[in-house]
Amino acid sequence: MIHLRPIAAILLRQYYLMRGSPARVLPVFAWAAIDIVLWGFITRYLNAITTSGPNFIPMLLGAVLFWDFFTRVMYGVTTTFLEDVWSRNFLNLFATPLTIFEYLTGLVLSSIATSAIGLMVMLILATAAFGLSFFGYGLMLIPYLLVLFLFGISLGILANALVLRYGPAAEWFVWPIPAFLSPFAAVFYPMSVLPHWMQVVSHLLPPAYVFESMRTILAGQAARPAMLLWAASLAILYILLTSWLFTRIHHRAIRTGLIARYTAETAT
């Protein structure tokens, strides 16, 4: 049976931390805002030098916004977990009645809160400064964001499992994960330009379907809901798999005593 108070505790703790620390609040939207500004000017320049080409603003700036949203979701799950790593709080935390499911739920809800703030800032900036309009996507915007959100959650849980298994130093594996995946996710180009082996990987990544579908709509063709349904199914499957992996690694940490003496030295 799931209890709401322990989940509320995880959310409240994150709120306390952010309220008292501008260094934690700024990354929620600062890097995304920088990306929007940078890519906003790049797309404006591309539109200026290609008079009869496609409109780069929705194509590139829209893609950047979606990709940054996905990245914020993943980092939202990870940074909430890392707060417990940084403050060496595992012993106090896991000696309470809190269950792993409640803990993961708390991490996900924290990520929803922070990524929603980031998304709002990005949307306002991209619309106000560069005229990006999302009305072109219509209702498809919701499944796009949902698929990216679900996949971000699954990668966040995977990253947490890696840190729990390999120790605090494994944090450095976590930050580059979105950058590592971006060439395969076909954020800025169609999957068809990739070599065959990269396309195989792309077909396993839900964001690749989102960006393909997005370009289809911008090209004036009908959206393919079946493709997005498949992407959402993949993302849900990844959440289940990574949650199972996290639970297994947590159980291993309980068996070996790692939770009680979690440091860089003991985890490896």
């Binding site: 209890h3 108070r5 322990p6 509320a8 505790a9 409240l12 703790r13 306390y16 931390l17 008292g20 620390s21 707060e83 940084w86 403050s87 060496r88 709080n89 595992f90 012993l91 106090n92 935390l93 896991f94 000696a95 309470t96 009645p97 809190l98 269950t99 159980h251 309980i254 068996r255 005593g257 939770i259 009680a260």
Partner: protein, 247 residues
């Protein structure tokens, strides 16, 4: 019984950190868990807290098996340890609220006010735990430990690193709480004078096994030693000789 441990074992590879330990703690009883470094004290406490899985044996807290009903068993349990300070990036109040929710404490505001007063922490309510002195951090840890009015309290060297005056105040507060709430306490310490003062019963551990058990005031003489500290040193240096004289 508030705590009932039966034939508890923890094996790491070929080493037995805890090797067939059985004991009980009753309500309104303070039991000292003594032994040299590496004897298995903290390993036992971690298993009772559910953060370390036993290799064999069982742990029941108020009759509830922690292996199968972890939440129910831990709702009435709490602990503090010198090596597990509260997160330094939250204030005392924020930490108490956070852990109060995790333990499902009812009337949380009232409980927080009560433990803040009990441990003279009202002046540090909005101070981040990371900037508190050792004594203040210990008091904050104890406030957290008593927040859910546990029936079983695990204290792993609660007065380590404190000056004698602060340690005496802390001991008095723990004993007062334990007596008032009829709590069962499992207390580890390397301070034998402290153990003699506060514990109703002591268990001497060596190499993961209980070597001796008894009243801390009479146990030394039963084994030909003047003081509890002499007995402790004997246990640490010559456990096998003492084992032959066991109770």
């Amino acid at each position: 019984m508030v705590l009932s441990i039966t034939d508890l074992r923890k094996i790491y590879g070929k080493t037995a950190a805890v090797d067939g330990v059985s004991f009980n703690v009753k309500r309104n009883e303070i039991v000292g868990l003594l032994g040299p470094n590496g004897a298995g004290k903290t390993t036992i406490i971690n298993m009772v807290l559910g953060i370390l899985e036993p290799s064999a044996g069982s742990i029941h807290i108020e009759g509830v098996d922690i292996a199968t009903h972890r939440r129910r068993a831990l709702e009435g349990t709490n602990f503090t340890a010198v090596y597990a300070p509260l997160p330094g990036n939250l204030t005392v109040y924020q930490n108490l609220r956070f852990f109060g929710l995790l333990y499902g404490v009812c009337d949380l505001d009232e409980r927080i006010a009560a433990v803040l007063q009990q441990f003279d922490l009202e002046g540090f309510r909005n101070t981040k735990c990371g900037v508190l002195s050792s004594g203040e951090q210990t008091r904050a840890g104890l406030a957290k430990a008593m927040l859910n009015q546990p029936h079983l309290l695990l204290l792993d060297e609660p007065t380590a690193s404190l000056d004698p005056a602060t340690a005496r105040d802390i001991r008095a507060k723990i004993c007062e709480f334990a007596g008032r709430e009829a709590v069962g306490v499992l207390w580890t310490s390397h301070n034998m004078a402290e153990v003699e003062k506060v514990c109703d019963r002591v268990l001497f551990l060596s190499h993961g096994r209980i070597l001796l058990e008894g009243n801390p005031k009479t146990l030394p003489r039963e084994h030909g030693k003047e003081t509890l500290e002499d007995l402790f040193i004997a246990v640490a240096r010559e456990p096998l000789t003492l084992e032959g004289n066991g109770t």
